[in-house]
């Protein structure tokens, strides 16, 4: 087939990009070469719109072993142990086929982790759906949850935490982000950089089929009415084969046979082979006739673009082929020597004894286009004047109930009951806490992890929103007693060719960077998902932060459950009563305008670190950060989880009770302590200039405040637990 501009455009390339390809090659590419270019120059692989801004991220830290640029980031957690982690999006495929889309999302991120030699120890997920009233929402949610569970449960990695939100901006474009953490000996990490000449290139795993051809371009294609036509590109996952692949790879890695390894993710064999060669400044030669194919008569074009799952590419030490094959035979997986490394710095493909493609690697990697897209700043919205009589007709009890039953606050146990969260026998904080926690098998240490996003804040003011998400992640880790270590990020945005969407991206990244620098909370890996829009309407900017923290002694873990009657409950951090962009504003006042709460980095850091001191000295027995829904929502959850009540003290604050109880000021926590420790706690708080309020005293089973609230914890629990279950059952 003659390649021309029209065909190039059909492959997702722009006119000038096609021209650039012809110029660089000094000829018109053939169809296979065009396919390779289109895959490599696609937003998904090339990061062409985001690269310029991602460079600004704070990626350095004392504990960082590997920052962005590898399959996943790696941090040092002491005693030769390292944690490998990353988050990835599978938004578009999940919208088209929720079960398989979500399942293969989990499969993909798991491979990124074990590719580096790490055994996966925990999964997380951040999932975002349209309005509950939207006709597609329920089935998408059901399918996505089943898919995540179907894959993670089967492979035997616990899903320890997650996040689920509903917002109409996701009506036509849901978000499914999956994160995995793995454990590795820090001296036995594997990378994707090829090295050495004439080294055998090995293909292992499942056979190649016609699945997902053009998947990478689909991930970057705007949804429109022709979406049905894109359907056949969805891949089917096989968690069973992935489990075998995981065990086989780890077995092979125990020995010194592997020079470089890379999973075949987006753009399959194309991107994996090009990336390995590019990193090693080498060439690579592949014989496509040797690829194990599932179907007959697959063409080189199809083979290079296939996104069949559960496959890996390995550069092996010469002479180790037999040994490696034996391992893969044992696990009943395909194994084939398909090529070798060369000194040509080209990718050269052969098929049926003919050379079918030849491209200098640097044209695909370094010379891929980079765009400095136009972007627009978002002005900080004006503060609203909330008139007194707005609150007059409101009653605290009703507001609390309404908020606890609202989709974004309601309990998500219906979801995580379907995820195996206890397999591997080390989960010490299951979903439902501020962060999930797993022990480092066989040691005193534990690792905490959380995924967070605040799309409404980011939409109102991306810079502040970007800062806020990082801070929230930090707080969630502190709340379980973990020292925050590093983050990964999944940047879900609309169309980068749209100045407003691009501006949201740029400013969120800026916010993330500032916060991550101030908190010394580096970014070690991540993923960008653009073009999350339907019919010209983008989603709210949704950067998802995956945070990881470390407990040096797992026995120091803290939960949010209220523990003992008579204990004191304090609010740490100052409450100013910021209601704009809060759940209260949205659910009770139907008000969507105004700025998000401000971030004060100094207080954020100081409050968090002081709480860690209290935990270290065993002075507090529970802790919960204050997030969506403010103090009253947060303390209600502590009551529900701990099956205890609280008598709340009369307010001393100047702001009204709604602002006090539902305001979403940042940097705050609620802690519970035994009365006898109050003096010691106060001393530490005072020494560190940390502001606190006395919120109340734990009681048997009632939440009481003046004459405004008098509810049993069971009532609260029912209100909080029923919404999602009922929604899904009907």
């Amino acid at each position: 087939m003659e390649v021309n501009e029209i065909i190039a455009i059909e492959h997702g390339l722009k006119k000038d990009e096609f021209k650039k390809i012809c110029d660089l090659l000094k000829r018109v590419p053939n169809i296979i070469e065009l396919a390779i270019f289109s895959a490599m120059w696609n937003e998904h692989c090339s990061y062409k719109s985001s690269k310029k801004h991602l460079k600004k991220l704070n990626t350095k830290g004392k504990n960082v072993i590997q920052g962005p640029g590898e399959n996943a980031g790696v941090i040092d957690i002491g005693d030769n142990d390292a944690i490998v982690f990353k988050i990835e999006s599978h938004n578009h495929p999940s919208f088209i086929e929720p079960y398989q889309g979500a399942a293969t999302g989990v499969g993909g991120i798991l491979r990124d982790i074990f590719t580096m030699g790490a055994r996966p120890i925990a999964n997380l997920n951040s999932i975002h759906f349209g309005s509950p009233q939207h006709k597609k929402t329920k089935n998408l949610l059901r399918g996505v949850v089943k898919g995540i569970g179907g894959y993670g449960n089967c492979i035997g990695v616990p899903t320890i935490a997650g996040q689920t939100t509903f917002d109409e901006s996701y009506n036509g474009n849901i978000l499914v982000n999956a994160m995995t953490l793995g454990l590795v000996n820090k001296n036995k990490i594997f990378y994707s950089k090829a090295a050495g000449l004439d080294k055998p290139v090995i293909y292992v795993g499942s056979k190649t089929g016609r699945d997902g051809i053009h998947g990478a371009s689909m991930a970057s294609a705007i949804f429109d009415d022709r979406i049905e036509e894109k359907k056949p590109t969805v891949q089917v996952g096989d968690p069973f084969t992935e489990k075998l692949l995981l065990e086989a790879c780890l077995e092979l890695m125990a020995d010194k046979s592997i020079i470089a390894i890379q999973d075949m993710g987006a753009a399959g064999l194309t991107s994996s082979s090009v990336e390995m060669a590019s990193k090693g400044k080498l060439g690579i030669e592949l014989n496509l006739s040797k690829i194990p194919c599932r179907e007959e008569k697959m063409t080189p074009y199809e083979i290079m673009l296939s996104e069949s799952q559960e496959r890996m590419l390995i550069v092996l030490e010469s002479g180790k082929e037999k040994k490696a094959k034996k391992i893969f035979d044992k696990w009943n997986l395909d194994f084939a020597v398909i090529g070798k490394t060369t000194n040509t710095q080209k990718i050269e493909l052969f098929f049926e004894n003919k050379k079918v493609a030849e491209i200098p690697i640097n044209l695909l990697a370094e010379n891929a286009p980079i765009y400095d897209r136009k972007w627009k700043k978002t002005k900080l919205p004006q503060k609203l004047k909330l008139e007194k009589n707005l609150f007059k007709s409101l009653n605290l009890t009703d507001c609390l109930k309404k908020i606890l039953a609202s989709p974004n606050i309601s309990d998500k146990q219906w979801i995580w009951d379907q995820y195996d969260h206890t397999v591997m026998g080390d989960t010490i904080q299951k979903p439902g806490g501020d962060a999930g926690v797993v022990r480092v098998h066989g040691s005193k240490k534990a690792v905490a992890s959380t995924v967070d996003s605040s799309a409404s804040y980011c939409y109102a003011h991306p810079l502040t929103g970007g800062k806020q998400v990082v801070c929230e992640s930090w707080r969630n880790l502190i709340s379980v007693g973990a020292k925050p270590a590093a983050i990964t990020n999944c940047l879900n945005f609309g169309n980068p060719e749209n100045e407003k969407n691009m501006g949201e991206f740029v400013e969120c990244v800026e916010g993330i960077t500032e916060a991550s620098k101030f908190l010394n909370f580096p970014v070690v890996s991540g993923n960008v998902s653009f073009y999350n829009e339907t019919k010209g309407k983008g989603i709210k900017p949704t950067p998802v932060i995956g945070g990881v923290g470390v407990l040096s002694d797992y026995k120091q873990i803290l939960s949010m459950n209220l523990k003992n009657i008579g204990n004191l409950v304090l609010v740490i951090g100052k409450t100013e009563g910021h209601l704009e962009q809060s759940i209260f504003a949205k659910e009770i006042l139907s008000e969507k305008k105004g700025p998000p709460p401000e971030i004060n980095f100094f207080n954020e850091k100081n409050n968090g670190e002081t709480i860690l001191k209290l935990i270290e000295k065993n002075l507090i027995v529970s802790c919960h950060d204050i997030s969506l829904g403010g103090i009253l929502t947060s303390v209600s959850k502590m009551c529900i989880k701990g099956k205890k009540g609280i008598r709340i003290n009369p307010l001393k604050s100047l702001i009204n009770k709604f602002q006090y109880f539902f305001g979403e000021d940042q940097g705050r926590y609620i802690i519970e302590l035994n009365k006898k420790n109050f003096d010691s706690v106060k001393k530490i708080l005072d020494q560190n200039s940390v502001y606190f309020d006395n919120l109340g005293i734990v009681n048997d089973n009632k939440i009481i405040f003046n004459n405004d609230i008098n509810l049993t914890v069971d009532e609260l629990k029912n209100v909080n637990k029923t919404w999602l279950k009922r929604y899904m059952d009907h």
Binding site: N153, T422, V423
Partner: protein, 226 residues
């Protein structure tokens, strides 16, 4: 005491049960499904997981594996066999235990703590456990125990019901039946009571930082009864 855990491709609780057995004093060894024989053991455990991806029917393909004949011989000669979750499914698929485990009634995977009542203590698995109700943990998609009425009658007549789902006080209401099992059955024995299959995972309940500690009672007792 020597125990053996069989690893099938797709098993994923093999390490967990190995950890538990060793913690309570067993000398445990792992045996690969493609091996032809099992070293001398006092107990064989078929662990949880998704052997062969749970494809076709859970446990059905494992029931055709090479090692399974050795397990059957061991069981038929009176050796102690414990099948947990997927292991239970394998035991029914090999006809070492009657009935079958179907898809959960409410069609979702369930991962949570449940209570089970011990129905029969005249066997090595539960003999000296003081409590009658244990808090255990389940994690499965196909734990809905089913058998024909005749079979059920024979199971009851022979005292083969091992554990049943209940609440913390022992009430066996349908409300406390998480998956729709006949008679709230969570685990059963063979007639001779040397084979136990059950859906709950005692190996996930072996220290106070996990979901509970009643699994410790189970393993401690098992060791004691040798």
């Amino acid at each position: 005491m020597k125990s053996t855990v069989i690893i099938f491709p797709g098993s994923n609780c093999d390490r967990d049960v190995d950890v538990a057995l060793k913690k309570f004093g067993f000398k445990n060894q792992m045996v690969w499904h493609n091996d032809c024989s099992i070293p001398k053991s006092d107990l064989i455990v078929l662990p949880g997981g998704f052997s062969y991806g749970d494809y076709l029917r859970c446990g059905s393909i494992a029931g055709k594996s090479k090692i399974i004949n050795s397990v059957i011989d061991f069981a038929n000669s009176g050796g102690l066999v414990l099948g947990i979750c997927n292991g239970f499914q394998i035991l029914t698929e090999t006809n070492l235990l009657p009935g079958i485990l179907q898809h959960n009634k409410y069609l979702n995977f369930i991962c949570k703590n449940v209570f089970v009542k011990i129905n029969n203590k005249e066997n090595k698995f539960f003999k000296n456990i003081k409590k009658n109700i244990l808090e255990f943990h389940i994690a499965h998609n196909e734990g809905n125990y089913f058998c024909s009425e005749n079979e059920l009658k024979s199971i009851e007549d022979n005292n083969q019901i091992a554990v049943t789902y209940c609440n913390h006080e022992g009430s066996e209401n349908e409300e406390y039946n998480p998956n729709g099992s006949v008679k709230n059955i969570a685990g059963i024995f063979n007639i001779k009571k040397n084979i136990l299959g059950m859906m709950p995972h005692p190996e996930r309940m072996i220290d106070s930082y996990l979901s509970g500690e009643d699994g410790s009672l189970f393993f401690e007792n098992l060791l004691e009864n040798f």
